[in-house]
């Protein structure tokens, strides 16, 4: 298969990486040819980011070999790999916003390029070479996301990169900005630079990638030239089964209005009002940082707000703290499982009982431990949590099982309104499906669900109704069965179109 070996700029053989409780990468092999755009697709948690972090030297591998530019790479650091000609452009751009464009490009190398004058001159050359007109003396903090990306690309070029890895570069770009990026990618390719392009957007992969590798559950499922694979084949390979049953059938239990949210205002949110119906799954769609999380945190009483009203069953409920929300029948599975959801060094049992401790407490203030154990066992069984015992520390479980512990905690309260903020982030496909089923069950029993997710297909397939959020406002309302993805995304990007950024 590999007769043209010297043609490969990067050759990864059998790489494995273990994290406590998880095999993040399992015998991954990928060859990247010189001057090609190599796409990598896979669901969240498929191992793409872990692989990139190993290549760039952020993580060390447990086994396997890496050959870059005919050189065997035993161990590396982010700085070393950059100097060798392997650069990464991360989703969260690695940029000092209080410094100028030129300074960012040559950060820590001012002397080598001849002082500040040389820095700006060379920076301009690099930016010109990719057709960008950004002024090198502008503060990076004043640039748009796509301009920041240009700066990152220029920085990569300044290291004479032979391979540039782009980790979901398009996730926060507008269509026009995307076109510029595509132009640059073609130009880089012409200069003989290879690109690894990671994306969730399959359109892009088919648009300009030459070869594509599909990853799932830490393994490479297939690598094929783009002409030899169809879209549905690719999706089937990504999810491990055909697309029809990636999501359970959409529940249809929508009834009367259950909750009204009237004008939430915070530093970030501007006059957010909406309704939630009984038996409804309501999806909130928006970019990261659009204010989705802030909305549900405000409802839940987790943050300080400037006066809003929550009406449940026609009655105004005062929610000043999460404990009030709990009493009103609202539950929140928070966005960051590890920081906000779990008490990692504690047992599975005490993580599950966390929200129901008052139920387990006698009038004298004593906890009933055997009741606690029974409670934990009930949810371990009903949610299929894989754990050796109720006394196991929750940090030793896999991501999916950890998430189920958080979900179980709230199921115990039989919530009327379950808010789930990125409930399937970083968990495997099987566990995802189980979470979907759980949402379905809740609405079947007359509860309602508010679902926030960055994975659009998830929101569109599970929700009865979708609200788009942009820049702290609700910009649109859709029936996901009757609207196109394009329409919805347009609303989710509304502020950029209006040019709030100068």
């Amino acid at each position: 298969m590999n007769e043209n070996k010297p043609e490969n700029i990067l050759s990864v053989k059998n790489i494995s990486k273990n994290f406590p409780g998880v095999k993040a990468l399992d015998g991954v092999s990928i060859d990247v040819q010189r001057g090609t755009v190599h796409g990598i697709v896979g669901e969240n948690g498929a191992g793409k980011s872990t692989l990139m972090k190993i290549l760039s030297g952020v993580y060390t591998r447990n086994s396997g070999s890496i050959t870059f530019d005919s050189e065997d790479i035993k161990s590396t650091t982010p700085h070393k790999s950059m100097s060798m000609g392997l650069s990464i452009i991360y989703q969260e751009l690695n940029i000092v916003s209080t410094m100028t464009v030129g300074e960012n490009i040559f950060l820590g190398r001012f002397k080598e390029v001849g002082g500040m004058r040389g820095t700006h001159a060379k920076a301009k050359e690099l930016l010109d070479s990719i057709g960008s007109t950004i002024n090198t003396t502008t503060m990076v903090g004043d640039l748009s996301v796509s301009e920041k990306q240009m700066v990152e690309i220029a920085k990569a070029l300044s290291f004479d990169s032979k391979l540039i890895i782009m980790d979901e570069p398009s996730s926060s770009l507008t269509d026009d900005e995307m076109k510029d990026l595509v132009k640059i990618i073609h130009q880089l390719k012409k200069q003989g630079i290879s690109i690894i392009y990671i994306s969730h957007k399959l359109d892009e992969i088919f648009d300009f990638c030459d070869i594509v590798t599909v990853m799932r559950d830490g393994k490479v499922i297939d690598t094929k030239p783009i002409g030899e694979i169809t879209r549905s084949e690719m999706i089937t390979k990504m999810v491990g089964r055909s697309i029809e049953n990636e999501f359970p059938e959409r529940p249809r239990n929508v009834g009367e209005t259950l909750m009204e949210v009237r004008s939430i205002n915070t530093k970030k949110l501007k006059n957010v009002s909406f309704e939630l119906k009984k038996g409804e799954i309501l999806g909130l769609v928006g970019l990261v940082g659009a204010g989705r999380t802030e909305i549900v945190r405000a409802i839940f009483g987790a943050d300080r707000t400037f006066g809003h009203e929550i009406v449940i069953d026609g009655k105004v409920v005062k929610i000043k703290a999460p404990s009030d929300a709990k009493r009103a029948g609202i539950s929140l599975v928070p966005e960051d499982r590890k920081l906000e959801g779990l008490i990692l060094p504690f047992t599975v049992e005490s993580n599950i009982s966390l929200a129901s401790l008052d139920k387990l407490t006698s009038k004298m203030g004593f906890l009933n431990k055997s009741k606690e154990k029974t409670m934990a066992e009930k949810h371990i069984k009903s949610l299929g949590i894989k754990t050796p015992s109720t006394k196991t520390r929750v940090e030793s479980l896999s991501g999916g099982n950890q998430q189920k512990c958080v979900v179980g905690r709230w199921m115990e309260l039989e919530p009327r309104i379950l808010i789930m903020d990125e409930p399937t982030r970083g968990i495997d496909v099987g566990a995802k499906y189980e979470i979907y089923l759980l949402m379905k069950e809740i609405v079947k029993n007359g509860g309602s669900v508010i679902l926030i997710s960055s994975e659009l297909p998830e929101v569109l397939n599970m929700s009865n109704r979708v609200l788009t959020i942009c820049d702290g406002r609700i910009t649109g309302e859709f029936d996901p069965e009757k609207s196109s993805t394009h329409e919805i995304m347009e609303k989710a990007f509304e502020f950029i179109d209006k040019g709030t950024k100068s």
Binding site: G21, A302, L332, A355, D358, K386, S396
Partner: protein, 329 residues
């Protein structure tokens, strides 16, 4: 399936680690006792054992209280200000109001000092150990200053009083059979606190706050109640420590209890309660306190220079914190 095996493995490793952690302190106590006993047989004399138990009495109370604050992820330096304040107020109450009201007032003053600390923490919005450190450093100075102000810096002697002070004599040096009264008080208190910590809602709340404040809050656990109770318990225990100390030395000095805060932190950490919060127990603290006191006693017995002793204490604290940090990874 592989998940299961992995977690079991780490469980076994953990329990070995947990065991060795306990074992190290007990091992240190044993070695220390044996070596000192061989070099200086007087160490094992009844007189010295009584001496050790006497030191243990007042210090353990502060250490037990401090355990809750540290498990809750905070720290409290103010105990060495609370102790003299409690002592001078209790003393001044004996003549006008009698022994029992004085005793009760003393305990309440201790609890109030702790309560004020918790209010300052809550109102300032402090969430970190470092913030608590500075706030309680401030109240330590204030409480200690109040004690000086109250007495004008004069030390009063219990034995010069006209009033009946027999209750304090009993607390300080009474015995029931072979046990000193102080030791019996310790047994009652440690049992009560152990039950509080492991079996009550509030005890669990304090643990949860130390484990992950955000997660606890987002699950509707009252952080306020937890912070108030951990600091109030600590203040109360400092008060109790002050009263035992006062009863033993029979004098109300506005400088009693100096240095107790560092010794208490040392004992708690050496016992194996994590400075990061969430992990620890009063039983560990009992062992830790024992080691700290034995260490001082042994060094005295072996004729180690006093300045050298302080240096040793500091070094041990650093080592204990270092071991604690290592265990986290």
């Amino acid at each position: 399936m592989s998940d299961l095996i992995l977690s079991q493995k780490s469980n076994i490793r953990e329990s070995i680690l947990d065991f060795s952690k306990e074992y190290i302190v007990l091992f240190a106590i044993a070695i220390l006792s044996i070596v000192t006993g061989i070099v200086e047989p007087k160490f094992l004399s009844v007189a010295n054992m009584t001496n050790i138990m006497r030191q243990f009495g007042p210090l353990i109370m502060v250490c037990l209280g401090m355990t809750f604050v540290i498990i809750g992820g905070f720290i409290d330096l103010s105990v060495s200000g609370t102790i003299p304040l409690v002592v001078v107020i209790t003393h001044s109450m004996i003549e006008p109001f009698g022994m029992v009201p004085a005793l009760i007032t003393g305990m309440i003053v201790g609890a109030i000092c702790g309560f004020i600390n918790s209010l300052l923490i809550l109102f300032s919005g402090a969430t970190t150990q470092a913030e608590a450190l500075f706030i309680t450093y401030g109240t330590m100075v204030v409480y200690g200053g109040l004690a000086l102000l109250y007495t004008g810096g004069v030390t009063h002697y219990m034995t010069y009083m006209e009033a009946d002070y027999s209750l304090f004599t009993v607390i300080g040096s009474g015995t029931v059979g072979v046990f000193s009264v102080t030791f019996l008080i310790f047994l009652v208190v440690v049992t009560a606190l152990y039950i509080f910590q492991s079996k009550t809602y509030l005890g669990r709340t304090i643990n949860l706050i130390g484990g992950n404040k955000t997660a606890a809050r987002l699950s509707g656990v009252s952080i306020k109640k937890g912070i108030i109770s951990m600091f109030t318990i600590n203040g109360f225990m400092a008060g109790l420590s002050g009263i035992i100390l006062f009863s033993r030395v029979t004098q109300a000095s506005p400088t009693l209890g100096r240095g107790y805060e560092t010794q208490a932190i040392l004992a708690v950490v050496v016992g194996g309660t994590s400075l990061l919060g969430g992990k620890g127990s009063v039983i560990r603290t009992v062992i830790g306190t024992l080691l700290v006191i034995l260490l001082g006693n042994c060094m005295n017995m072996l004729g180690v220079d006093v300045f050298m002793q302080n240096m040793m204490r500091g070094a041990i604290l650093v080592i204990a914190i270092w071991l604690d940090a290592k265990r986290q990874h």
